[in-house]
Amino acid sequence: MGLTGFLTVSAVLFTLGLVIFISRKNTIAILMGVELMLNAAALNFVAFARFTPSQASQLDGQIFAVFIILLAAAEAVVALAIALSVYKNLHQIGADKLASLKG
């Protein structure tokens, strides 16, 4: 599989994440969509680093992918903690039901 294959897969992943973010009502599902988007970017970085290595430093893409994984984990930790405390307070986490703030 060449570079095009990897890029196609990552573009599909990214689009799926985007669609999930826009269409799903459950907060946890929305978070899963965001994870898909982040992982699509990580896949892109690794593919580019493998097929078109930069002259200056060959590891830039791989290191960036590692950082994206860390970032996804950190965001998931904070987001799930906040979702938990929302559930404790309001007993629901549906994005369409959380509409106390308007204007």
Partner: protein
Amino acid sequence: MVNTLPYLSFIPAHVLMGFAILFFFLAKAVPFLRRLPASLIFFLVMAGAFWLETMGSGSKAVFFDMIQVDSYSRLYNQIFFIAIAVTILMMVNNDEINEEINWEIYGLLATVCLGMMLMTSATNLLMTVVAIELVSIPSYVLVALNRKLPVSKEASLKYVLFGSFAAGIMVYGMSLIFGLTGTLDFAGLWKGLGAYSSAGTAIYFLAILMTISGMVFKIAAVPFHFWCPDAYQAAPTPITAFLSTAPKVAGLALLMRFFSYHLTIQKADLTLILSILAMATMTIGNLAALRQSDIKRMLAYSSISHAGFLLMGIAVLNATGRGVVFFYIPIYLLMNLGAFMAVIYLSQGDRFDIASYAGMVKKKPLLVVGFTVCLFSLAGLPPFAGFIGKFYLFKVVIEEGLYLLAVVAAVNSVISLFYYIGVIKVMIIDTEDRPSKDVQAGGFPVVFVTACAISIVFFGLYWVPLLNWADKVRLLF
């Protein structure tokens, strides 16, 4: 292995902030340390960091050229330290945050501060991501800490969802740029994008637009502004004041450094993108602010429209524009922090609807006058400092020949008058329909708001000190 320790001597304030983060998170567990006054310690840390940044000189690229220390980053960092010091003062005088968790809050604020310091000096996409997330993730938590308003958790959840969405788009855009140019360095990537044969095609614009979405999210510009009103309304008021100033300034600083490496052939396209962004941001922010009944929500939309005005200075893409943005930022800080401090004390308990301010001038005349000066200055009326700031922004835009942008901004200035004056009318002309309990305000808030108002008037009449300060802001110098 490369030894990075010698580099640390070039970034003493970052080191101090790193120790502050460790101290605040660890000291909570040590009974002896826990009895120390956390607010005072954090205030001293800010003073120390400010002193260290004023001592520095020269310009140097450190940590494998990932961050650039120069007068630009040092002066912006000083502004963050001032904003955080004021936030501490507000928190001490506010009861929306449980004081028992002060240690953790200061730890989070120190982390945000370190992130902002990295944002002003990042010259690499990887460092950009790390810095933006270092600011974002603690901010999500800070918004959720309002003990009087359970709905702050909900606002925080929305904030974290939009934040991670923006981060996802940003890293995908960065991966496209990396694929196009093979580098993550700001200077290298603009050179690479310029050399790329299909510059000006869809993928070129897509990569740039997706990459700046993370920074656009931090300054709460359109189309990543949806989190802003909710988060600002529900967060504890000192945190709202903080979020509306320091991270926004950091996002602007990062945008300016990112775009400062552009090549001449790319200038027209980039100016167009940034002008559209600026016009959309100020118009949508202002139109939404017109129909707000909650003061914090209104100030949130007002801060969105101010992000639009500040983007004008970035859209011209030259050193004069960067100087003018820096000139406006201390003024913006004075107006916004003064206004939020007044809001804390004019709001009785947790009532933030504008209607409850009726007849406030009779109870707290001095505070209301100070608040009025801040609001007039936000609207950009002479002789207040906000007018001078806006005047210089218009000047650079017209000098660059961006007449449409100048006209849209002028119309928006007029629109913004309506909602600022609406608040002033309620406070001064309207009378109370029913008597409410007296506003409990000590001496400090009145002194603070009055000091802000006096400096706004002072800088409105004599702005040379600010101009001299803004003159020192140079990239790589």
